[in-house]
Point group: C2
């Protein structure tokens, strides 16, 4: 299935940063929430020294993906529903800011790309392809962050997204969720395309407030 015989025993191929490898393992749910990440185990599993594993775990702790209990090691950080709600509440502040800036900064080229993205989203909705729709939502969020050219907000949003990846994923398949959020996403896109910061902020705020509501009911 893979394209070459490089996977197995030989480690001579360039190895990507351990931090990234473990980060993706966590986001891929190869490690469960609250699972202990024992340095010696990871060390053997990835063929690196304990010091390297340690460095990676320190990095991931800084990103909020793992917790480090003094003298008791690291474990995958588990986000409760309450925390997921807090995260979305914070996202309201950050994403409305980005939406505002995106509307202000929009260039004709950006507008074309955004229109293309809108078309894709509408197509995904039309064919009821939840998986594609979920992916496009993420893509839209990322696109708006980029357009905002606001490094600080972008960085914090990226952190929060990683931390709540599991919850975001669950939410995407919540019954009836797509039908509600789709027009909200379209509204956000249109407000940005219209270069209307106030409308972009309002549409973003409305969308995320809806998510907070849903999460509260799930609690």
């Amino acid at each position: 299935m893979t394209d070459a015989a490089v996977v197995s025993d030989d480690e001579t191929t360039e190895r990507p940063d351990l931090t990234q490898v473990i980060r993706e393992a966590i986001l891929d749910a190869q490690f469960a929430p609250h699972q202990r990440l024992i340095e010696a185990d990871l060390s053997e599993r990835y063929g690196a020294s304990r010091a390297s594993v340690r460095t990676a775990l320190l990095n991931l702790a800084g990103e909020g993906l793992v917790e480090r209990l003094p003298n008791r090691g690291a474990r995958v950080r588990a986000i409760t529903v309450d925390e997921a709600i807090e995260i979305v509440e914070v996202r309201i502040g950050l994403e409305t800011l980005c939406a505002r800036k995106a509307a202000e900064n929009l260039t004709p080229t950006d507008a074309d790309e955004l229109r293309a993205l809108r078309a894709e989203i509408e197509a995904a909705i039309g064919s009821a392809d939840l998986m594609a729709y979920s992916r496009l939502n993420q893509e839209l969020d990322r696109r708006i962050r980029d357009l905002s050219r606001h490094g600080t907000a972008t960085q914090l949003l990226e952190r929060l997204r990683a931390q709540s990846a599991r919850h975001q994923f669950r939410l995407a398949f919540h019954p009836g969720r797509a039908a509600t959020s789709a027009p909200e996403h379209i509204a956000i896109i249109d407000a940005i395309l219209a270069k209307d910061p106030d409308a972009a902020e309002a549409a973003t705020s409305a969308h995320l407030s809806g998510i907070v509501e849903v999460l509260h009911r799930m609690e």
Copy 2:
């Protein structure tokens, strides 16, 4: 186990976490922005092994206080004025959220403490004690964060505050700044005391927007 005569030369006293020591050194401006933090130097300076220093630097990198350039070591992260503006823009979103929650959660006991704090602030203004006023501003921000009981927002605000400590400090002594911001702070307190989330959000937003303005002019 007497605790006398242990302070001077002997290192047998419990040592506070190196991360905290170096963090405070950075915030105290013992290390200048962009100054390189060489592991061997810090190791000798604080009488710890290089591994411990390394751990501390990784922690501080996670907090955004130092930058780590691959294979080229760590240095104190320098915040430009543009970044300082971005940080305040983000604070608008986060602190309005906290002010809102604080107004909603306020208990009679909290209200008493808040009134005491207001009295202190008014006293500092009356005596034109800029140093005390600056300290009380920080205290007020912290108090509102606590009252909000919003862990996620609190954590992010704490990070941002540390990163922009230098700029916040400079701003506090900007000519005429105290006269402008004092009534804004009082307005925020009163809105929270009135348990009026909308007013608290508006007052906080107005205050921080003013700071953004000033920073823009300083640029």
